[in-house]
């Protein structure tokens, strides 16, 4: 068997391991093994790559230095990545994923760039069959030209889109103000058309000039597409960028004719697309609506009208008494929980209640937080058993039998207007039916609206008590009050 055949066999093994890794993501216990198998697959693929003909050829010519250089760069990158992963706080997971997506996209773009410059250069030498065929691949409308164009386009959009998403999630001051340029659809359209023309140019000529312009235009497009998207729509953006980073890797695989890149890239592409669809469905919005529409924030409902004279705010002692009499409590966390870093405080309150014989469960809306499954990770960090975390469709029928629902840092996902008011901007969005519980306690700093910018009739409902405070402080005080009695 030729050495190339062994390398391909290693790639095949890696690809199979990636598929098994995804398969084992279906349960929390098998997922640990799945992740390790994925990492093993990656290690095998990386090792195999070091035996590829271009690498061995340069080792034969220049000695061990080229390999050493590759290892040094890989080790630095791996070190940075691992350090980030260990130090990064769990509450900031969406930002980290956004950043890593961007790096992945950029790497795929650079692979295409490197291959294009190398191919253009090797045609000077005409040394080996590979180089001769590489020169031939510069012909217009070959797979090579098309894949290079796509890898660079997708990679560049992923890079800048992810950096903007990171900036917004990290709440950097530069990204605080939403970009509401009334002409932004036209700017996007102009950039998209230019990008398509440049893609056509790259496909047809493989000219480096077109390639560079395409990278720049795609980078601008990544920025203008992501800038207007904010807050609660972030989960969709994260999923979509994840999908792009996979598709960029697959395109890079087409460039260098490498099956493991194509397989792994398309798996990730599929994963991102599925999550995107799930997130859109959970908000009852179309992907096009999320990407281009923005949310109609000009609400017809006046906040004063909804809230005037109907808001009942309660003191700690009163709430503690209600909690003590409850048999069943459901906690509804939202992004505010992550902001207040209150996951451990929630756990402590739940522990105290459970010690008194109260059953405590958590209702998780699919888009609560800033990335898919964000709340599950936060609550898992506080050692809350995942059996207590219930998905929306599963827990909704049980709200009428719930004595107390505690809403912490969630707003739009518990807004009954989505169910009752057909004119509401969030009409039709599936929500958690907390308003059907006997008593609803809403822990919130103020009556400020959520991402949708609309008032929430839940806050004014007869069975709702508002507890105006910082989420973490409120929970600690409640826990103390329940313990005292």
């Amino acid at each position: 068997m030729s050495s190339q055949a062994w390398i391909n066999l290693a790639y095949l093994t890696a690809s199979m391991l990636f598929i098994v890794a995804f398969k084992q993501m279906s349960g929390p216990r098998t997922a640990v093994r799945g992740n390790l198998l994925g990492a093993t697959g990656m290690a095998i693929a990386i090792l195999a790559a070091c035996f590829e003909q271009p690498v061995t050829a340069s080792i034969t010519e220049y000695g061990i230095w080229p390999l050493f250089m590759l290892i040094v760069f890989a080790a630095i990158g791996g070190g940075i990545g691992a350090t980030m992963a260990i130090r990064w706080p769990m509450t900031g997971m969406p930002q980290m994923v956004a950043l890593l997506n961007g790096f992945g996209g950029a790497a795929s773009m650079l692979v295409a760039a490197a291959e294009l410059t190398s191919t253009r250069a090797v045609s000077r030498f005409e040394e080996s069959a590979r180089q001769a065929s590489a020169a031939a691949s510069l012909e217009p409308w070959t797979q090579f030209a098309i894949a290079i164009g796509l890898a660079c386009f997708i990679g560049s959009v992923t890079l800048t889109g992810s950096l903007v998403a990171f900036g917004k999630l990290q709440e950097l001051p530069q990204f605080k103000k939403p970009w509401n340029n009334p002409n932004r659809q036209w700017i996007n359209l102009a950039l998209a058309v230019t990008a398509l023309l440049l893609l056509w140019g790259v496909f047809g000529t493989s000219q480096l000039l077109f390639f560079l312009l395409l990278v720049l235009v795609a980078a601008a497009l990544g920025v203008t597409l992501t800038l207007p998207i904010g807050g609660a729509d972030m989960p969709v953006v994260i999923c979509l960028l994840n999908s792009y980073s996979g598709l960029a890797a697959a395109a890079a695989g087409f460039v260098i004719d490498n099956s493991v890149l194509v397989i792994a890239g398309s798996l990730v592409g599929a994963s991102g697309l599925i999550l995107t669809a799930i997130m859109c469905k959970a908000m009852n919005r179309s992907l096009v609506g999320v990407l281009f529409g923005g949310l109609g924030t000009t609400s017809t409902v006046d906040a004063d009208e909804v809230y005037a004279g109907k808001i009942k705010s309660a003191e700690t002692e009163e709430l503690a008494m209600i909690l003590e009499q409850a048999d069943r409590v459901v906690i509804v966390p939202g992004y505010g929980l992550a902001v207040a870093q209150a996951q451990h405080a929630v756990r402590e309150l739940a522990d105290v209640l459970e010690a008194r014989g109260t059953s405590v469960e958590y209702a998780i809306h699919p888009v609560a937080g800033r990335m898919p499954g964000h709340m599950n990770v936060l609550l898992a960090e506080a050692d809350i058993p995942y059996e207590q975390l219930r998905e929306m469709d599963d827990i909704n029928p049980s709200f009428p039998e719930t004595d107390v629902a505690i809403v912490i840092g969630a707003n739009d996902v518990v807004n009954p207007a989505a169910r009752n008011d057909p004119d509401s901007p969030i009409a039709g969005m599936p929500i958690l039916d907390v308003d059907k519980a006997q008593t609803v306690i809403v822990i919130k700093r103020s009556l400020s609206p959520g991402f949708a910018g609309i008032p929430n009739p839940l806050f004014a409902a007869d069975n709702t008590l508002m507890y105006f405070a910082d989420g973490k402080k409120a929970l600690i005080e409640l826990t103390a009050a329940v313990t005292r009695d």
Binding site: G79, G104, T117
Partner: protein, 117 residues
């Protein structure tokens, strides 16, 4: 701009192509792999429960760093200054992606399975 000038200045040698597989066949072969893998991806990933969506995102993120394989090949061929430079940069970024993704996923999943005390 230097990059453009340099690359355009390079004379294109009219080498006789010696392909082992015609370009269209290569494309169709890779497209087959791409579509089948997409299909497998859709089938497998729809079964992942909502509570594991964050580890799924970060884990798949790590796998998208597979582009490091391509980076190693292009950087290792040492053909041009720019090609190698891009390749090395790609290795660096892709490895941050790979290591960061797998380690953070592991850290997260460890939280989902607290050790029995």
């Amino acid at each position: 701009m230097n990059i453009i000038l340099l690359a355009n200045a390079l004379p294109l040698f009219a080498a006789t192509p010696t392909p082992t597989e015609d370009p269209a066949s290569t494309f169709i072969r890779l497209l087959t792999v791409f579509l089948l893998a997409m299909w497998v991806g859709f089938e497998v990933i729809t079964k992942v429960p909502q509570r594991l969506h964050t580890p799924l995102t970060s884990g798949s993120n790590a796998i998208s760093g597979v582009t490091v394989v391509g980076a190693l090949v292009v950087a290792g061929s040492l053909t041009t200054g720019f090609g190698t430079l891009f390749g090395l940069l790609a290795i660096l970024l892709a490895m941050i992606n790979v290591a960061g993704g797998f380690v953070v996923t592991h850290r997260m999943l460890a939280m989902f399975n607290p050790k029995k005390k």
